[in-house]
């Protein structure tokens, strides 16, 4: 009897906690949109310069690592598909496989995961440290809304940076596949290029880009939310930063799944 009550109590508490998290995230979302869209229309300004700086940090500076990883993933996909396709003498279909999986799946996913590790964690650590150091309180007392000052520029930058980097990643991944197929497997370069252009349709690009916008939303909001949740000192910052990356990657996979199912049927 007591055990059943205990279990019920745990489930109840867990549910209440999750609802509270949901409520706090919703407030954060509403405030972000209010300060991003409504406030500028009422003449309260938008910190465009800070957004541009954040875009450079999240997007441009992540290009080298995203580029390198995506090139290697392109090589890997090409060699792995050759393993099966070679048995059927169908090595030229490597091009199709690489192109479709890069655009629809691998480039958006790899980009999002790398930007989470690089910038999602940085957002949490920055906002968390500012909270511990009373900097967030200081902004508020100065009459500067922390959402406007800190969150909105990061949000705009992230939602733009992830799709932009994703497009670059798509091309580099296809090039990685091309590189491996031509040099290692021995596919004719002209055939490879033909197969690639034939296999791609506009919908593949749209699928990848729509996903990547939502990946950007998830990375930024999880980063900010976890940062604002920091309590205590350096240990709190560390714990929330870890949690930020884990939650973000989990959400990215869920968003990916939802869109993949959605695009499968339409």
């Amino acid at each position: 009897m007591t055990k059943a009550v205990d279990v019920a109590g745990h489930v109840g508490r867990w549910t209440i906690n999750q609802l509270a998290v949901g409520a706090r995230v919703s407030v954060l979302m509403v405030e972000t949109f209010a300060w991003m869209i409504v406030a500028p229309l009422r003449g309260k300004g938008l910190r465009v310069k800070a957004a541009v700086e954040a875009f450079v940090e999240f997007g441009v500076r992540s290009l080298p690592i995203v580029g390198m990883i995506c090139f290697l993933v392109g090589v890997i996909i090409a060699l792995q598909s050759s393993y099966t396709l070679d048995k059927w003498g169908a090595n030229r279909f490597i091009a199709t496989l690489v192109a479709v999986s890069a655009l629809r799946e691998m480039a958006p996913l790899m980009t999002a995961i790398l930007i989470t590790g690089r910038s999602g964690s940085a957002i949490t650590a920055e906002i968390g440290t500012m909270k511990v150091g009373e900097e967030i309180d200081a902004l508020e007392v100065m009459g500067l809304n922390p959402i406007k000052y800190l969150v909105v520029p990061k949000f705009m930058a992230m939602v733009l940076a992830v799709p932009c980097v994703t497009v670059v990643a798509m091309f580099i991944m296809i090039f990685g596949g091309f590189f491996a197929s031509v040099l290692v497997v021995g596919v004719d370069p002209a055939i490879y290029i033909d197969m690639t252009t034939d296999s791609l349709v506009e919908k593949d690009l749209v699928t990848g880009l729509v996903k990547s916008v939502f990946f950007g939303v998830a990375i930024c909001w999880v980063g900010v939310y976890r940062g604002l949740q920091v309590e205590g000192g350096a240990e709190g910052v560390g714990r929330q930063t870890t949690s930020s990356v884990v939650t973000s990657i989990f959400l990215i996979i869920i968003v990916d799944l939802v869109f993949t199912v959605l695009f499968y049927f339409i």
Partner: protein, 265 residues
Amino acid sequence: MVTDESIIAVEDLVVRYGDRTVLDGITFNVRQGEVFVILGGSGSGKTTLLRNLVGLMRPASGRILIKGDDFTAMSEDERIELRKKMGMSFQSSALLESLSLADNVALPLREHTALEESTIDIMTKIKLELVGLGGFEDYLPSELSGGMKKRAGIARAMAMDPEFIFYDEPSAGLDPIVAAGIDGLIRKLQETFKITSVVVTHEMESVKLIADTVCMLKGGEIVGIGTLDELESSQHPYIQQFFARQPDDEGSSESAYARALTGIE
């Protein structure tokens, strides 16, 4: 210089963390132009009181009237307007670590005014000069000592030429000479610019130097309020103990310690 006009009035303020009442029925007035010191030991609720005064926390009940307007019941826009007239010096100074000292001080000016950048530059220099940090414009907060950070925090609080400044433990963690310097600065700003100052502290030495009015808190309630002389002559046992720097009664604290360890009443 200190007028009798009340500029901040706190009426029956009650603050709770969950079920725990942290501040209970706090009522006092701060007169225009005075240095009002909120004095109390650790856990007396003095920092919580200050956080309520600047609107970082909302009370469970009661009112905080600043120049006659209820701060607790304002719209967001009205609060921002009022905050332009307030400055706050934080215990950890709370300078934005990513900005230079000049940019820290200039931040409220850049965000709230339409002043030319050259004007902001001059104003920033004046504020830093005022707190004795002339020539440190390009330093980052991490390159400064604790006392210098405190001064820079005060310069930032002064940026918008405020009517009130709130200080959270201004001399905590500083050596006596630097702490005395900060006390002198608080007094100077109040005397030169007629700024009403509310100071939270537990340092008796500071209180002696700066206070016009002292409000003594214990366990979330006011145990005494008046000039320093009035409080020194108070018969309240806690005030006498605090001023005489006496520890709690040894015997009772030992038995309380034993009870806490064993859980036996």
